[in-house]
Symmetry: C2
């Protein structure tokens, strides 16, 4: 399922996930990760600030995909429709990451510090989406509410997606989650 290319960064990610899985996140060291990948610690630190960042290496790409989608939505799209256009890009990007995402989700769920880190990353993502909506002329409150709703929709769908066996289901799960939000918010 995994399609990591044999570049140093990809090898380090695979090695880290294997070790986190085998012996736990806490006890795994950067030296062990580098050794498993057949690389030096020096090379590790060229790609990651610390071992924790291995688990968040996709964050920037996720943000870029989402923001590109929001910025590129048609000019008459509502704020939430623009956010949803970003989710299309995100879903495409995630299809081939299902195996990584599943293992990663288990590690994060078992570690409160990683959960906090995830929370902060998602909040930063919501902030970036808010700014992109503002640049489209959306009012401040509507931008915050739509961005936050989008991140929650993503989060709910993501939790379901890593629980099941169909990598391509992410887009459908996000659509269902978005429909559920619309129905929850309907007066």
């Amino acid at each position: 399922m995994s399609r990591w290319k044999p570049d140093p960064q990809g090898r380090l990610i695979v090695a880290a996930l294997e070790l986190f899985n085998e012996q736990g996140y806490e006890t795994t060291t950067v030296a062990q990760i580098a050794a498993r990948a057949g690389l030096t610690k020096r090379t590790f630190f060229r790609y990651f600030a610390d071992k924790r960042e291995v688990l968040f290496s996709g964050t920037e790409e996720l943000e870029r995909a989402w923001l590109d989608g929001v910025a590129g939505a048609s000019a008459d799209a509502t704020p939430l429709a623009a956010v949803d256009a970003g989710l299309d890009r995100v879903a495409e990007m995630f299809v081939e990451r299902h195996a990584f995402a599943r293992i990663r989700a288990g590690i994060v769920a078992a570690n409160p510090e990683l959960q906090e880190r995830e929370l902060i990353k998602l909040q930063n993502l919501a902030g970036a989406i808010t700014a992109t909506l503002r640049a489209r002329g959306v009012s401040a409150n509507a931008a915050v509410l739509a961005a936050q709703a989008g991140v929650t929709v993503f989060h709910v769908a993501f939790a379901q997606w890593v629980e099941q066996d169909e990598p391509a289901a992410f887009r459908r799960l996000m659509e269902e989650s978005l429909q559920e939000l619309r129905s929850v918010a309907a007066a």
Copy 2:
């Protein structure tokens, strides 16, 4: 505006806010806070784990008020209407805290560590609201989406409330924020 009673906890909160304001949050020590309140460090630690917790002393009460409102909403209330019933209680509780909330907001905004703490507290609050909605028979996804939406509505209204001079406006600002969410989510 402030109506802190002269109990030790209230005196410690007032003393801490004064000192944070005068000399900054970072440089203020627990010993200074206790001295300003005319109390000992020992007494301080009877009420707060550390100086940071002074700023989050209302969190439990906020959560209790909100959850009581959700649990007590009429049986046929939609998930979001139940969340909104909690916001009524929260608004009542906050009216007399306007002065505290304004000063506190400035301190939190200037300190990334406090912002992270606030984010985590809000996320825990969303989790508790989700659980209360689940106990009302709301499905898992709808509960997460409604709880998260409620916390965002609260957050948006709170940010406006601390910027203005009318303590009683919180309920109206939350209602406006909720209406904006409904309109953002409308297809």
